[in-house]
């Protein structure tokens, strides 16, 4: 297993938990004005999920730091423990983790201690947003400047709002016992939110692909980054097809029990695919060398060899010889 895959396997649950916490809390806050169903009841039906996600974030974050340290120092996880203080004090990633870890702890505390639901929901939303921003600052985007980081952050926000709205709709409808009218209104709200989130995802995703691949079919087809992107976009299109069916077929008929049940089932499937497949592949993308780089001048032996095994770079070296 390569270092990239190692990192992606750790980052996946972390990012999935962050975007889900951000999105579900955001959806509950957006629904706060809804009179037919109390926000407290909606928040209460999501509380167990939030506690679980906060625990995942809190437990996985130090492991990601250890993995990052081991990769940077080129040592095992055990040996990396000795480097952690230096990494925290002297590197960009370390300084971010000095913020990330305490915020993850506060998030866990906020999810677990007794608090009024509105205050808890707001705190979790803000802390998840802060952690997503730090995550964006830790990504490849940091190499490309502030705009790239902002775009990456907006990409995370868009996917969070989409997944969160879907998951919150399904969980509140399933466990919160809201009246049918709430499900109808919430379904329409989720549909609108999902539409704008998809627009945001496509725009920000295009920009990120723009940075990572270049106008080169070879990069797209033969680099790990390009192939992972193709897989991610393929699954995304599948989820989009389910979403379009929901939006144009089921949502207009959501007052009918059969359509409502079918909608809730589809929403559940969509959110699971998004979290497992799309966020998983996105984590792999975030830890795979983008195919486009300026490389060397003059001497082919200067072609850098990524420590992590990459099909593209193997190919590039073969081409160079």
């Amino acid at each position: 297993m390569t270092a990239d895959v190692d990192r992606a396997l750790l980052v996946w649950p972390l990012v999935a938990s962050l975007v889900t916490t951000f999105g579900t809390t955001g959806f509950v806050l957006l629904s706060a004005g809804e009179r037919v169903f109390d926000l407290r009841a909606a928040a209460a039906s999501l509380l167990t999920l939030w506690r679980f996600l906060a625990a995942v974030i809190f437990l996985v974050s130090p492991l990601v730091l250890l993995n990052v340290t081991a990769d940077m120092a080129g040592v095992s996880w055990i040996s990396a423990l000795d480097f952690v203080p230096e990494v925290l004090a002297e590197t960009h990633a370390g300084r971010l983790f000095e913020w990330f870890l305490p915020i993850a702890l506060v998030l866990l505390i906020g999810a677990c201690i007794p608090l009024p639901q509105f205050i808890r929901t707001t705190i979790l939303f803000l802390l998840a947003a802060a952690l997503l921003l730090l995550q964006a600052l830790l990504s490849h985007a940091i190499d490309q400047g502030t705009l790239a980081v902002a775009v990456y952050f907006l990409h995370e926000v868009a996917v969070g709002l989409w997944v969160g709205a879907l998951l919150a709709l399904w969980m509140v409808a399933r466990y919160g016992g809201p009246p049918d009218i709430w499900v109808e209104r919430a379904a329409r709200r989720v549909s609108k939110l999902a539409f704008w989130s998809v627009i945001g995802l496509v725009i920000t995703g295009t920009y990120t692909a723009y940075n990572g691949l270049g106008f080169d079919l070879y990069h797209l087809l033969f680099s790990v980054y390009g192939r992972t992107l193709i897989a991610k976009v393929g699954i995304f299109v599948g989820v989009l097809a389910i979403g379009a069916y929901n939006r144009y077929w089921l949502v207009p008929k959501v007052a009918e029990p059969a359509a409502r049940n079918a909608l809730l089932f589809n929403v559940q499937i969509e959110s699971v695919i998004l979290l497992l497949a799309v966020v998983g592949l996105a984590s792999l993308l975030a830890n795979t060398p983008p195919a486009q780089h300026k490389g060397s001048h003059g001497d082919h032996s200067m072609m850098a060899m990524i420590a992590a095994d990459s099909m593209f770079f193997r190919h590039a070296r073969m081409r160079a010889t």
Binding site: A3, V68, D71, M72, A73, G74, E86, V87, E90, T91, H92, A93, L138, S139, H140, A141, I142, D143, Q144, A148, F195, V198, I199, V202, I203, G205, T206, A209, Y210, N211, G212, L213, G214, F215, D216, L217, H219, L220, V233, N287, P289, P290, Q292, H293, K294, G295, S296, H297, G298, D299, S301, M302, M303, A304, M305, I306, A307, A308
Partner: protein, 125 residues
């Protein structure tokens, strides 16, 4: 969804599939070297410098200038410029011969790259 929104969605999605370009990269790769890769110099360099296309971490940066016997001719530890883009190290007065520059850096995105290149110092006539 109106036709305009559909066109916007289709257009941006097509762009995503096809891919468009910008001169940027992730991970740190050499953008410029001094002496440059493959160069033949009439005078030995006082130092070796590599400019990267992304900022690097000082903590894990290494730069060695090896002679044909494999001995490191660098003097002291390599320095990273304050902005993080350049790695340089002073070298001994190099006698004529071929030298291999070996670098090993960690980009601020935490990913590790390494590589090498050669240059030659010519004998004085």
């Amino acid at each position: 969804m109106n036709k305009r929104a559909l066109a916007l969605l289709s257009g941006t999605f097509l762009a995503l599939i096809v891919g468009v370009t910008v001169a940027a990269s992730a991970h740190a790769f050499p953008e410029q070297e001094s002496p440059s890769a493959g160069a033949t110099l009439s005078e030995p360099p006082a130092q070796v410098t590599i400019k990267y296309d992304a900022p690097i971490e000082k903590l894990f940066a290494s730069l060695e200038v090896l002679n044909s016997a494999g001995q490191n001719e660098a003097v002291g530890k390599p320095e990273v410029s304050p902005d993080g883009w350049k790695l340089s190290v002073p070298v001994n007065k190099l006698p004529p011969g071929e030298y291999t520059v070996q670098w090993n850096v960690v980009c601020i995105d935490t990913h590790h790259t390494q590589g090498s290149y050669s240059f030659t110092v010519e004998a004085h006539s």
